[in-house]
Amino acid sequence: MDNLNLTRRGLLAGSIGAASLLALAACAPTASPAASSGGVAGSKSKIGAVKGTLTFAFWGGSDGETAGFAYAKKKFEAANPGATITLKILPYDGFFQGIDRGITSGTAPDIFRVDYTTIGKYSAKGVLLDVSPYFSAAESAAFLPALWEAVKYKGIAYGVPHQTDTTAIVFNKAAFATAGITSVPDKLSDAWSWDEFSKVATKLRKTLPDSKYPFAYDWTAAGAYRWSSFLYQAGGSLFTADLKKAAIPSAAATKAMDFTKSFFDKKWVPANNTIKTTIYSDNFFLNQTVPMTFIGDFLIPELADPKDGYKGGDWGTTFMPRDKSAASDLGGNAIVARKDTKNPELAAAFLKFLVSEDSMKYFCEQAIELPTLKSLANSKLDYVSRPDAMKIFTEQAATISTTVVKESTVASFATINTVLQDQLELAFHGQSSSATISAIAGGITSALAS
């Protein structure tokens, strides 16, 4: 008893002590990153010989990606005696938490990979190296304009667009034949309209048992923003042109929301192909719950894998459906360097090397991903797997408009994507289109204002 009483008193004393320590701990300094101070664009484009050691961190998305980066490191070090790039391959889960902790403690890798929808967060906080001085006008112009824009914040480039990917449709040929779907679009201009796509889904629904569904969509978890492709296809957008306000509610938003909600009402997608689930659109295709799925091209190696890949027979690829226009999402990654890296010249030289034609070509061919250089986008790459599928994805990538890029790279995109996740999840479980769109608009306005 005595011990318990003493402990209770101790607890009370501890609580008071903890409360008094609040003030002390509150004084703990926390650095606020300073704004970027770059140089004149192109002023340092001829970097010359570089030496030193830097660390480059990336997540190992696939064996092809790892091989691509290893190739660039080897070539770069051979071309620059005295320069060493230490590759740090990390798991995707927790990657950015590690980067953030490293930035606040000054131990982050000098160079790291970042997806286009996350780069805005780092650019806006001024923690990235301004690479504009290292790229001449001609070098900047060598990139696909939309993707060079994707690495910019307030007109300054804070990284290099390394590769891109986008969504298209993969389907089982036998299931299509069984449903009487005898032809699929093989040119972007012939992509299904929403009506035509609906007819395809209806035909599949009729021939499939109750336990199977016509298709799955890749909007799970952080992919929620891919719902916006339907909004863009319907002629709408998330933000106004100046990116300062929500451009919804709108007729296009209502149309897109009604259309996507109907996927569940008509049992075109599995009931658990929602946002908060542990099963992704490729999983539904791989386990043959659906004969058609929307996936990113980076998943082609997974489907084509002879051992663990798709076992449902021959599969083909076609384009996203279109309404008023064709549209697809911005996927892919940039490579950035820390502003406070000890050797900015070496970092910039390596970034430039990664996006050189030879490095990018090798990387994309190995990883089955799309290049960001105009010269490569317009040429035929020797993809190591399913080049026929990549032909479709390459054409589909042309529908990633400037609007899509601008809206996907705003600094507060993560917050907006979370709003999309929550509200789409509710919409797909019965919340009305108007309530959903109104809530998304509120979330966007709040996020853009913060």
Partner: protein, 323 residues
């Protein structure tokens, strides 16, 4: 001086004499005490440092951060009680509290009843009881995330093991992942599977501490088997029951890994628990990473856990007195 007075006085005299006689030795004992105290301090120091650095300091920082708008890159501003105001007006927080309450309500009593039943069965003379005990205890040593992933596979509503089993006996597919009720049910079932071994273990230890003579006395007095269990055995398991009740309540209130691995808090917010909400708000790499608000949710969890612990102390202290 009478004999009685002499007797009364003698102990004092003896003690004084003894003190006088041992005066030089007292100094040695003082040195010894100081040495012992130093040694004890050295042994305690690592623990004190660990508790201070890894428990108390983070706790204090969590309180501090809950009064800030802090992002993942370390930029912060003071917001006073802003996060707490937001907390009490946040419908998702209250829904997560309700979900946590429902989860606790179904996992704690049911798990304890099952654990007690299994412990009673395995406390008797049963062939292979050691093997059965190990099998039932085994899920507890598996990590919560692994259990959750396993649960997600088993309760996959399209291709999962559970629906296939149900289908084989003529029961139609259950929407374990797209219906809020069934999603919560699946998490509760997986949690029970994992935790019942712990309940069994504690009750088994309690049962083995019950004096057989008390049972025999009850039998001699004509008590039936159920009466012996209800009126003799179960009351004697009081300390085990209290311990399990509190530990399970704290565990249930802090559930995260199983939920995150199985449902991500969905469908909708129907399985979002307080801790999974705090995690998503603060640490989701593709989310807003509102560390200040997440800390405020954490402080709320801390205070509720503190209240549960205080209740435990109150009841366990009276239980100590009874015993």
């Amino acid at each position: 001086m009478t004999k009685t007075e002499a007797d009364r006085a003698s102990p004092v005299t003896t003690r004084v004499s003894a003190r006088s006689a041992s005066a030089p030795a007292s100094g040695s004992r003082g040195v010894l005490r100081r040495v012992n105290a130093s040694a004890a301090g050295m042994f305690l120091l690592p623990n004190i440092v660990m508790i201070a650095v890894f428990t108390l300091l983070p706790l204090v920082f969590a309180f501090v951060i809950s009064f800030q708008n802090l992002d993942s890159l370390g930029e912060w501003t003071w917001v006073g009680f802003g996060n707490y105001v937001k907390l009490v007006t946040d419908p998702v927080f209250w829904q997560s509290m309700t979900n946590t309450g429902i989860f606790t309500l179904f996992t704690v009593p049911v798990g304890m009843i099952l654990g007690l039943g299994i412990a009673v069965l395995l406390n008797g003379v049963l062939p292979g009881r050691t093997l059965f005990r190990s099998i039932i205890f085994l899920p507890l040593v598996v990590s919560g995330v692994a259990t959750g992933v396993l649960g997600a596979w088993m309760f996959d509503q399209s291709n999962g093991f559970i629906n296939r089993i149900l289908g084989s006996v003529g029961i139609g597919p259950t929407a374990w992942q797209s219906d809020g009720f069934w999603a919560m049910a699946s998490i509760i079932l997986v949690t029970l599977w994992q935790r019942v071994g712990f309940d069994m273990l504690i009750y088994l230890a309690g049962l083995q501490g019950v004096d057989p003579s008390v049972q025999e006395a009850a039998t001699v007095d004509g008590a039936t088997g159920w009466q012996r269990f209800r009126l003799v055995t179960f009351p004697l398991l009081g300390p085990s029951t209290f311990f399990l009740l509190i530990m399970n309540m704290i565990y249930s209130f802090q559930v995260f890994d199983t939920v995150w691995a199985m449902t991500r808090g969905g469908p909708g917010f129907s399985t979002t628990t307080v801790v999974s909400y705090a995690y998503r708000t603060s640490f989701d790499e593709h989310g807003p990473q509102l560390l200040g608000y997440g800390a405020a949710v954490g402080v709320a969890i801390y205070l509720i856990t503190l209240a549960i612990t205080a209740i435990q102390w109150r009841f366990s202290s009276s239980r100590d007195q009874t015993d």
